[in-house]
Subunit: 67 residues, 6 copies
Amino acid sequence: MPVVNIQITRDGATAEQKAEVIAGVTDVLVRVLNKDPATTFVIIDEVDTDNWGHAGKSVTQLRALAK
Amino acid sequence: MPVVNIQITRDGATAEQKAEVIAGVTDVLVRVLNKDPATTFVIIDEVDTDNWGHAGKSVTQLRALAK
Amino acid sequence: MPVVNIQITRDGATAEQKAEVIAGVTDVLVRVLNKDPATTFVIIDEVDTDNWGHAGKSVTQLRALAK
Amino acid sequence: MPVVNIQITRDGATAEQKAEVIAGVTDVLVRVLNKDPATTFVIIDEVDTDNWGHAGKSVTQLRALAK
Amino acid sequence: MPVVNIQITRDGATAEQKAEVIAGVTDVLVRVLNKDPATTFVIIDEVDTDNWGHAGKSVTQLRALAK
Amino acid sequence: MPVVNIQITRDGATAEQKAEVIAGVTDVLVRVLNKDPATTFVIIDEVDTDNWGHAGKSVTQLRALAK
């Protein structure tokens, strides 16, 4: 019965990569906590870099500064 | 003062259906827990099927397999 | 496949009331969006009134002011 | 190590405003709880008004009624 | 920069198991999406079975029925 | 109408500090985005250090290593 919400910045993760994350995270919960995959949800939320703040700045700002 | 976050797969729920879910869920909280509708929020998040995993696969994968 | 997270202040909701909220909210999603109850999760988070802010004050503060 | 998730209705907040919210919220956590900005995330989720319910109606409905 | 929120029912997961889940999930994100562990958070929320609903019933109810 | 969820490690934040965070964060949203405090919620979730992972380890582990 786990519900896993994964928030990442929107950086072009492909459908295949997201499927691999879903499979990998589900496997961890099955292996370590003996959870049933049939009632395990993994939800990926891709967030615009304007909308993700780290160290007081948006990621858009941080990446501009890093150039 | 309830805050309700509802995550569903993006499957074309209409504005009318979403309004009906909002009304229905608010009513349950008012009826059962005597909550005040004026301070009750219901937020619906529609998630792409590539981004929702169930049983170790994305819903996109599951639906392709089910064809 | 809906996941519903309900946040309420910790005000002594009984197990029966929480079960009724779970049943009621699930029914709304089944009735309005034709969701499958078998893959519908409803999760209730009860929050201490010190930890819930409304209008710039904690609920603990608001309730003390309201006395 | 704080993670702050901010949900607001999608009402055209600019990149500058979102950056200012990120900076302001991070500053509160640094100032009040002595948190390290380097491990503080602030994530802003902008929600369509069809998808945000208040007092049993969607914000779209409420705004239409208010006209 | 991923933030992973994992909700599971409160079923006695040990500190060691939770650490193993944290390590395993972080590894998936590093391996598949090349994320930096230093800015990857994994947060585990253990939920009472009265507060987790599945198929319209609380897990407490479901487990009582299953006896 | 903002809803702000703040997750922090459980490190003994006092009721006064939490009230100050609530006031400060609400003020940022009022000042920057012209939000109405009367429909602004700030919810603080304090997480055990066994349940918060950073860089692939739980905070409990990290703090033990740092001694």
